[in-house]
């Protein structure tokens, strides 16, 4: 029997439903934490670290002196590479100097880590050890935790594969959704909030999906690429072109940084180089890396962030003369279209371009991606627990509903709880996050009314954010509110309270029980509402569309 158009649409619908329901909760988790991660740096990092509330005392002169002192007081073998991570909410909290031996020549090469307080410039940490353990020395705060959780769920390579696969399934959901909802223009304005609960969910799902389709597609693609690039795609690309040698692939596609040394000594002009960079108001210096310290041919690279340019730019300098040689981006060497796309993938995924307006837009759209997952799950449950679809008992579908609410609303509480753990017990940020999430999930599973649970969890989230100024006044040494009212910290604090108030408003507006069970609605009215929802759904559904 030939497959009819109606059967094809039904198949797309079934595929869309099952891909959505299998990945829905995880997609919510990744999308919501992604929306929070948009503000991880600089905003949340600045909020989390009191030492960043005032501008850093590290001037070009002081940084240059510290680098010269560190080089003078260490063995020459540690001068192979010298990196200075500049204190800034955009990357690292403290000023960190790293001096490395040549790890290409010596597999047992060591590195020296010197960490300075950004205000007092006091040496707060000195570590020397294997280069492979180098970045374990970096202290983590809530902003690092949440952005790391979004990237790989703190599961390492397995987590990267999971988030990458989730990007792929998001693309599959979008493609199948487009096939089943062909009247895309009509969907843009089809929102009927007062007809029935099921129709409210369906319309919300469709409207959010269609309005944000470009963003959701971009996030699916860039998320899949970023998740799978290092664990699957680079090894696959290296397999044929470089006989599996990934290092060789990266060397070929990355710019050569190490100079040919002359063995002639020269003074390193660190201060004039930093002054050149610091004097340019458009760019924010993040790191300076010096290769071949003390040699006439030594070169330095200053990694910068420019709000008006999408990819990060690297400024190359001759260290002996402070002459600027060139400016390049990370993947410029790749060339062609691919190099340009690779350069914009990361900033595009995280909204790291165009300033705060883009960040706010990205966060709102990120929350909308998570809401698509949530409403999709709720529609799936609703149609089975209270509709004609599905073979399991109503109780089984309601258990899934409780799991969904506990996981999703619980995640919101856990994210809001991060702020409290950061202030009260910053070494327990990750443990605290998972404990709060676990308790919220357990609470949801034990309760019968998931509508009420959702309201309570959102209400708790609202309280946690609204009470943050009180927490700040108790825990911070210097209350920033006494400083400039327009300071970055105060704007973040105000925004958090505002978001908390918004969550409280939503919690208040949400129904405390399933709307169709409203006591004021008679049984006949309920039947009519359900029938009306069914008819309206069918009008828009694939089945009707295929006739």
């Amino acid at each position: 029997m030939a497959t009819t158009k109606r059967d094809q649409l039904k198949k797309f619908y079934i595929l869309h439903s099952w891909v959505g329901v299998i990945t829905g909760i995880l997609l919510f988790v990744i999308a919501f934490t992604g929306a929070v991660s948009v503000f991880a740096r600089p905003d949340l990092k600045l909020w989390a670290n009191e030492s960043l509330h005032q501008p850093s005392a590290a001037t070009p002169q002081i940084i240059a002196e510290l680098i010269h002192d560190a080089a003078a007081n260490t063995d020459e073998s540690f001068h192979h590479e010298i990196h200075a991570f500049l204190p800034s909410p955009s990357v690292w909290t403290n000023l960190v100097l790293i001096l490395e031996q040549d790890h290409d020549e010596d597999p047992d090469a060591q590195a020296l880590w010197l960490e300075y307080h950004p205000q007092t410039l006091e040496l707060i940490k000195r570590w020397q050890g294997d280069t492979e353990e180098l970045f374990d020395q970096r202290s983590q705060d809530m902003s690092d935790f949440i952005s790391g959780f979004h990237a790989d769920l703190h599961l390492g390579r397995v987590g990267l594969i999971l988030t990458g696969l989730l990007g792929l399934t998001l693309m599959a959901s979008i493609a199948t959704g487009l096939f089943i909802h062909r009247k895309i223009l009509k969907e843009l304005f089809s929102f009927r909030p007062h007809r029935s609960f099921r129709l409210l969910l369906t319309d919300t799902h469709k409207v959010i999906s269609v309005w944000g389709i470009l963003f959701h597609s971009m996030i699916g693609f860039t998320g899949a690429f970023l998740g799978l690039a290092t664990v699957l795609l680079v090894p696959a690309a290296a397999f044929v072109s470089f006989s599996g040698d990934q290092e060789k692939l990266l060397e070929t596609l990355s710019p050569e940084v190490y100079p040919v040394l002359s063995s002639n000594y020269a003074d390193m002009q660190v201060q004039p180089i930093l002054e050149q960079i610091y004097n340019d108001q458009k760019i924010e210096p993040l790191r300076i890396s010096i290769y071949g310290w003390g040699d006439k041919n030594a070169v330095g690279f200053v990694d910068t962030f420019n709000q008006s340019r999408m990819p990060r730019e690297n400024y190359k300098f001759q260290m002996a003369t402070a002459q600027q040689l060139e400016t390049s981006t990370r993947f410029e060497t790749v060339g062609g279209v691919s190099g340009q796309i690779l350069d914009v993938i990361y900033p595009l995924h995280f909204g790291n371009f165009g300033g705060i307006a883009v960040k706010i837009l990205w966060a709102v759209l990120g929350v909308s991606t998570s809401l698509i997952a949530l409403t999709g799950m709720m529609i799936w449950v609703e149609r089975r627990a209270f509709g004609s679809e599905g073979n399991l008992s109503k109780q089984n579908y309601q258990r899934l509903s409780r799991l969904t609410i506990g996981s999703c609303a619980g995640l919101v509480v856990a994210c809001c709880g991060l702020f409290w753990f950061q202030r009260l017990a910053h070494d327990w940020v990750s443990v605290g996050f998972f404990c709060v999430w676990g308790v919220a999930l357990l609470y949801s599973l034990l309760r019968n009314n998931d509508f009420q649970t959702c309201r309570q969890l959102l209400g708790a989230s609202a309280f946690l954010l609204i009470a943050l100024p009180i927490l700040d006044s108790v825990t911070l040494d210097k209350n920033p509110l006494y400083g400039s009212t327009a300071s970055h910290f105060n704007i973040i604090s105000l925004a958090l309270v505002f978001i908390g108030a918004g969550l409280g408003f939503i919690a208040k507006k949400l129904p405390s029980e399933r709307p169709s069970n409203n006591k004021s609605t008679s049984s006949a009215d309920q039947d009519k509402l359900v029938e009306e929802a069914d008819v309206a759904e069918k009008t828009d559904s694939i089945i009707e569309g295929s006739l």
Partner: protein, 93 residues
């Protein structure tokens, strides 16, 4: 995928859509630099950027095609031809 009329062999089809698509798209990504007529950078980086679209195409095809046997046939041809290309390039190098 509960409807056996719409989706033949749902278990094998699911396995094909989940595992075989991922495997095949990785193999295609690995082999594509051998025949893409582009400069070195695009030839190596291009397939990695195309990977999500290759997977998406294979996934939707494997789920939607009426005959699973045909899906397996197409996959087998793609797999063998790309593995052959990989072997040919590695032997040459």
């Amino acid at each position: 995928m509960k409807n056996p009329i719409l989706f033949s062999s749902p278990v094998y089809r699911t396995l094909t859509a989940v595992a075989a698509c991922l495997l095949l798209s990785v193999v295609i990504t690995a082999a594509m630099p051998a025949y893409l007529p582009l400069n070195q950078g695009d030839r190596i980086a291009g397939p990695t950027l195309l990977f999500p679209f290759i997977w998406l195409t294979l996934f939707i095809y494997s789920a939607m095609a009426k005959s699973l046997l045909r899906v397996w046939s197409v996959f087998a041809v793609l797999l063998i031809s790309h593995l052959g290309l990989i072997a040919w390039v590695l032997k040459g190098s």
